[in-house]
């Protein structure tokens, strides 16, 4: 059941959404409830992005509106936080060593998150060992490697090789993405699959975790 806040956020009505939250809090509405509504709104933003209605500027804007809402809600959330929905699976995302591009990676993180995955975003220029350590720490079953430079193909290959060397390769599925990535690059790096956009990443992650 979509609440008013869900709709305002989904429609990117920034000032109205903030005003609504302020009024609701004044009237004593539970902050946790508002948070859930906001999350649902972000879910709709994700759907609209998938369907081609929204584009990157709209996603960036939705994130900014959410930030404003969370700032208002956070002090009122009494430790219980928002009810943690059951997550579909754990995914580690990183832009590989030597590459600092973050746009594509951030989109994938956003889309996986709003689609119910627990995402560990390791950032950009991530050394191979950091990824290996994070798999051991979290038990994540999916790794997403991002890279824009042609140089990133080698770093992706090295990362996949390191997973093999650490005996982790059979436990994880590896997907890669970035401007130049195609089937040739997938074969070169030894990844399981590649995606052309953030929606592909969600599809792959769902397939690998048995979702649909």
């Amino acid at each position: 059941m979509a609440g008013k806040l869900t709709k305002l956020l989904a429609d990117l009505k920034e000032s109205e959404a903030i005003e609504y939250v302020n009024n609701a809090l004044e009237k004593g509405t539970d902050a946790g409830e508002l948070m859930t509504e906001a999350s649902e709104g972000m879910g709709i933003v994700g759907q609209r992005f998938s369907s081609g209605e929204y584009f990157i500027p709209d996603l960036v804007y939705s994130g900014e509106i959410l930030k404003g809402i969370v700032e208002l809600l956070e002090p009122k959330l009494k430790g219980d936080k928002q009810k943690e929905a059951k997550k579909l699976g754990k995914v580690i995302i990183a832009t590989v060593a030597g590459d600092i591009h973050d746009i594509g990676k951030d989109l994938v993180v956003f889309m996986l998150d709003v689609n119910g995955f627990e995402v560990f975003d390791l950032g950009i220029d991530v050394p191979v060992q950091t990824i290996v350590d994070k798999i051991k720490e979290t038990g994540a079953s999916i790794i997403g490697l991002s890279g824009f430079l042609t140089l990133a193909f080698d770093a992706m290959k090295e990362t996949v090789d390191a997973l093999k060397a650490a005996g982790l390769r059979d436990n994880v599925k590896v997907m890669i993405g970035g401007g130049q990535i195609d089937d040739q690059v997938k074969n070169y790096t030894g990844a399981d699959a590649f995606g052309r956009d953030a929606m592909d990443a969600v599809k792959l992650a769902k397939k690998w975790t048995g979702g649909n």
Binding site: L12, E14, Y54, F55, I56, P57, D58, V60, Y61, E64, G98, D99, I100, H101, I103, L149, T150, L151, F153, D154, G179, Q180, I181, D182, Q184, V185, N187, Y188, D197
Partner: protein, 427 residues
């Protein structure tokens, strides 16, 4: 490394002077949408040069003599019609304490690859100052933010005061402040490095010409789509995307400012150089970044306006359509015929030919990944298809999609250039 000249029977017995003239003609025919004797090829070697020479990426800048030698070797091996080696040099950036770029050996390991570091160098609250007096804001606020060693420029008085003639000289004591002096010294150093690099480029061009390879006229004057200009070096991607929602009027006003300023620059620079081309690397207007509605409001009219103005001044815009432009090709089809050149990275090159074949000379066609991990036979088959379909009737220059060939295997590049000589001859 042994030199294994590609299949080259077409050019046997020709002098470098003849080859030089033929290659130049081939390029010029393609640019004008004519059909040359065969499909011209353009190789942007980049860090592949270092790989072929067994040196580190960083060495390309530290040892320019070696870089020049490797470039001539690559040219002789692959026999393209145009060839480029290393993109610029980090030395000026190093002297200035540049926070906007990373280079192998400067901000990155010796095997790294040049990267642009996009930051919000202009904050949203700077819009009014920027719009009010862009030149003053550029020197006293923006430049010290981008270049660590130019922070002293923030101590200068408003540049407009130079309009005060004699009275302004009374301010000159301000130029003796140590941070200001240090900033001017850093600029001097950067100038020195730039001049040295240009000397290397000139020497390289001469060596290549001696082997029959003409210089490339396209890249000496650079400009950007107004939206990219504001996004890349001023507001950053996040900043400009939020401006589209929160400050659309100011963003459009800023685009107008940078558009006029760039036109002034591009027109005079191309005149001084005697090279009637302006290179536009596009970044944020491709498919996926923004909606067509946003594209029509913030991106295309401003870019097209600049292109038309340049064309009016007899300058040919050479536009690098980075990413995919498959959904936007109809806009490009509106450009005056034969007056622009389109360099396509990831767009469907066959579709590009269909929509734009009669509108602009097309550059591109070879996915880098095929030269990294393909099989020679696969490359031959693909090259044949591109030659037959995209090369049809001329107006096409074959090149990799990315202006960088790092990771390409020399023997696969051989397979490609051989296939172009086999299938790219117009009958």
């Amino acid at each position: 490394m042994p030199e294994t000249p590609a299949l080259n029977s077409l050019d046997i017995g020709k002098t470098p002077e003849q080859l030089f003239a033929e290659r130049k003609q081939r390029i010029s025919d393609a640019v004008l949408l004519k059909q040359p004797d065969r499909i011209p090829m353009f190789l942007y070697m980049g860090y592949m040069l270092a790989q072929m020479g067994g040196i580190k990426n960083k060495d390309l800048y530290d040892n320019p003599a070696k870089t020049r030698e490797l470039l001539v070797m690559a040219a002789n091996r692959f026999q393209p019609d145009m060839i480029v080696g290393a993109w610029h040099t980090p030395k000026p950036s190093e002297a200035l304490g540049d926070r906007m770029t990373n280079w192998p050996g400067v901000g990155l390991g010796p095997e790294g690859s040049f990267q642009f570091v996009e930051k919000e160098f202009m904050k949203v609250e700077d819009y009014d100052d920027f719009l009010d007096d862009p030149s003053d804001w550029a020197i006293r606020v923006y430049t010290p933010r981008v270049f660590k060693n130019l922070e002293g420029l923030s101590m200068l008085w408003p540049l407009g005061m130079w309009l005060y003639g004699y009275y302004n000289t009374l301010n000159f004591a301000g130029l003796t402040a140590p941070p200001v002096v240090a900033a001017f010294e850093a600029i001097q150093k950067a100038v020195q490095h730039t001049v040295e690099w240009i000397g290397q480029l000139a020497a390289s061009a001469q060596e290549l010409a001696g082997s029959g390879f003409p210089p490339i006229p396209f890249f000496n004057t650079m400009a950007e789509a107004p939206f990219d200009f504001v996004g890349d070096t001023l507001r950053g991607m996040r900043g400009i995307f939020l401006d589209m929602r929160r400050n659309p009027e100011k963003l459009l006003e800023a685009e107008e400012k940078v558009s006029r300023m760039q036109l002034k620059y591009a027109i005079s620079n191309s005149k001084i150089l005697g090279l009637p081309y302006a290179f536009f690397p596009l970044h944020k207007g491709s498919d996926g970044f923004m909606s067509l509605q946003q594209f029509e409001k913030f991106y295309w009219p401003q870019l097209k306006g600049m292109m038309l103005k340049l064309i009016e001044n007899n300058i040919t815009p050479v536009v690098f359509y980075e990413g995919k432009w498959d959904d936007r090709l109809d806009y490009l089809a509106d450009l005056p015929k034969g007056k622009t050149v389109g360099f396509f990275q990831n767009s469907d090159i066959f579709k590009v030919k269909k929509v734009l074949g009669e509108v602009m000379c097309i550059i591109g066609g070879m996915p880098n990944s095929l030269l990294i991990n393909g099989k020679p036979e696969e490359i031959r088959t693909y090259t044949r298809k591109v030659c037959e379909e995209v090369g049809k009737d001329g107006g096409f220059i074959f090149s990799t999609g990315v202006m960088e060939m790092y990771g390409s295997k020399p023997e696969l590049v051989d397979a490609w250039v051989d296939a172009v000589r086999e299938f790219g001859v117009y009958k």
